[in-house]
């Protein structure tokens, strides 16, 4: 089998542009995840019982669905209730929500794994429950949260490939249509793989730096 370098370089610019879209969708949904996950975790840990139950139900439902279904739901069902989003923003929303429920569970279990004694010590000093969680428990839990969260971020970036089904021009969608147009398969698959690896590698690198920073 010969590797067609001419074809490789001919299609590279289109895929790099698509990588830009993947990166944008990923970063925006990561941002949404970072915004939503602590709220969900705190709602689950600290909310009054009805809120706790609602948040838990929401988390269970989203976790029980394949991301593809959540994406399709956002794209096809939301317009029925008057929320019309472009494929791009639909993808950001769906991936952000999916990432947030997993991240919320990571945060919650890290805080709960600290043990009852830590919470009781803070309560006994006069911290209200929510302040005990934010001021005393969360800083301790951070080190346990970050490594699995990095994993989750990588999953999120990979899941962005699913947005090809709602015609977001990210790496997978552009790669697939190029393959169907040109029948250049291996070269384009290699490009796709390398671009994903660069993006995910970059995120992993940044979060390892952050972990080290926290450890000091």
């Amino acid at each position: 089998m010969s590797f067609d370098w001419a074809a490789f370089f001919e299609y590279l610019p289109r895929l790099i542009k698509a990588a830009g879209v993947t990166l944008q969708v990923s970063l925006l949904s990561l941002g949404l995840t970072c915004l939503l996950a602590p709220l969900l975790a705190m709602g689950r840990l600290l909310g009054p019982p009805p809120l706790r139950a609602t948040v838990q139900a929401f988390i269970e439902v989203i976790r029980g669905l394949p991301p593809l279904v959540v994406i399709a739901f956002c794209y096809f069902a939301l317009p029925k209730i008057g929320v019309v989003l472009s494929g791009f923003w639909c993808g950001v929303l769906a991936l952000g929500v999916v990432g947030a429920v997993y991240a919320a569970e990571i945060i919650r279990s890290a805080i709960e794994s600290l043990g009852k004694g830590q919470l009781e010590a803070a309560l006994a000093l006069g911290f209200a429950r929510w302040r005990a969680v934010l001021d005393i428990l969360l800083p301790q839990a951070l080190r346990r949260i970050l490594p699995p969260l990095t994993n989750e971020f990588a999953n999120l970036i990979k899941a962005s490939s699913l947005l090809s089904v709602i015609s977001v021009h990210e790496i997978s969608q552009v790669g697939q249509s190029l393959i169907f147009e040109t029948f250049v398969v291996i070269e384009i698959l290699v490009q796709m793989a390398v671009l994903y690896l660069i993006i995910i590698g970059g995120v992993s690198f940044l979060s390892r730096r952050l972990e080290k920073g926290l450890a000091e």
């Binding site: 004694g117 830590q118 009781e120 010590a121 803070a122 309560l123 006994a124 000093l125 006069g126 911290f127 209200a128 302040r131 001021d135 005393i136 800083p139 301790q140």
Partner: protein
Amino acid sequence: MTLLQARGLVKRFGTFVALDGVDLDLQRGERLVICGPSGSGKSTLIRCINRLEQPDSGAITIEGLPSTNLQALRRRVGMVFQQFNLFPNLTARENVAVAPRKLLGLSRTEADARAETLLERVQLAGHADKLPSGLSGGQQQRVAIARALAMEPVLMLFDEPTSALDPEMIREVLDVMVELGQGGMSMIVVTHEMGFARRAADRIGFMDQGRIVAMAPPQEFFDAPPHPRLVRFLDNILGH
């Protein structure tokens, strides 16, 4: 003057009755030791006083006030745990300073100064910058005492403070507690350390099956135990 008054405290865990109608009065400056077999409700009693457990019925007043505001109540009542429960990510100084800083609005300098003073008082002046993992059990428990004192409580609760310690470290913790009592702090101490009880308590209470069945000053408590079950209990723990 009465500092603490508890009336008719009942606490159940499922079908198990941990507290079965406990009345308790503590005078200001009084040092009360509570002992009894395990499962007799000692820990539950003091955990109800600062509401780490919510009693099913009964009433508690501290300084004549019912404890409606949980946070305000807990700020006036310090607690020391069997397992220390220090915050492992904070140095000894930060462990002591964190509550005054976050809850009383002290500046970092003020809170650190308060922490230094308290660490000195528990004989840990040179250890302020160490993390709990770098301290022995006895040292950790003394940091925990300093941490509780940092909120300037009117009452200190000790929940088996030496039960998790190696024998050679028990003394250093008890010494700090004796000194605290001599300084006029009101204290309720759940412990099996009968030497400490004899040395430092004004009164000793004996609990059995969720009730305080005997309460007497040390001399009477040990020399003329006022309850048959107490006689057996003392035989068991002093016998060897």
